[in-house]
Assembly symmetry: C2
Homo-oligomer: 193 residues x 2
């Protein structure tokens, strides 16, 4: 079950409501789930798809929401057939697969573009780390079961470059910063133009 | 179940065997479980108590065993009544409780010694991070069930200061470096005397 999908549905309904009421209500601040309590119940933490279909993300320990400076921990769930965007980053990233099975697609950082990715099976109770700057994508290749991973990154907040496909040149990949789950906590950088 | 206990038993038997055969065999190098494969099955990874009673440790993603530079991930299991040593470190540390329940004991870094620790319940599907340099201890306060945690640290390899008890001055805490699970991979520092 991806509860994020429900949240996304509720989010869209709220957005319509907000649009209808826009002239009567102050604009809501983006949501930043700050929580300074020492021990947190993960099942009670904020969960959302952040606009990515079939995806759910919880920031378990975050730089912006929980004051981490050197590491962040995420819990992510991907429905059958779902996938992360193709992306790269210069931080370290470790995955621990808690449930399900899937595929790590791993492109090259030495060619001008990611190229045909390696396809590496991942499975419950497996772990892998993504080589720094290698474009990659995680997909749930199972037909029935959710894929749930714990993700650890260094040097938060995440600075992620997104690719449309595996033939897009590295220089054309687009930095999305702050990333979707950090948008509520970190003001978007000012337009330099 | 703590499979580490079995490994420890087997280790002791091997040690006796090695001692008996010492004059006939070359001295074995300390074991360093290097593994450069991209996806690893955690159930097949090296697990040991490293001499800590009722404790089991797996380096899931390590600086010395797997080339991480910024983060490390450990999987640790503590039997009912078992506990980590009282210790502190200047790196960040995040725990995710996968199974069981227990107590986080948290001392002060502002007094001259840890003092009477706060006792904070931890439980399955909870998370907590240890404030940098605060002396702490994790114990399994359940009578029956193992406590299993995933631990994330920054700036590996771990530089850990150990306390005998909560009234030991911070200045008397003893640096153990390399820590027990890194000893096989990192040569002990030379005696400066």
């Amino acid at each position: 079950m991806v509860r994020g999908a429900h949240f996304a549905g509720a989010g869209r309904a709220l957005l319509l409501l907000a649009a209808a009421a826009a002239s009567f209500l102050p604009v809501a601040e983006p949501f930043c789930p700050r929580d300074d309590s020492l021990v947190k119940d993960i099942s009670q933490m904020h969960q959302s798809s952040y606009g990515i279909d079939g995806f759910s993300h919880i920031t378990v320990a975050g730089s912006l929401a929980h004051g981490m400076k050197e590491v962040e921990v995420w819990l992510q769930t991907i429905v059958p057939g779902g996938r992360t965007p193709i992306h790269r980053h210069s931080c370290e990233e470790v995955f621990v697969v808690l449930k399900g099975k899937g595929t790590l697609l791993l492109g090259s950082s030495t060619l001008k573009y990611p190229g045909q990715p390696q396809k590496i099976p991942i499975f419950q109770n497996s772990t892998f780390s993504v080589p720094v700057n290698d474009p990659h994508q995680v997909l749930n290749s199972d037909e029935h079961e959710d894929l749930q991973v714990l993700v650890i990154i260094s040097r938060p907040p995440a600075k992620i470059f997104l690719y449309d496909d595996w033939s897009m040149p590295h220089t054309a990949a687009k930095l999305k910063f702050p990333f979707v789950w950090d948008e509520g906590c970190l003001p978007a950088p000012k337009d330099e133009l």
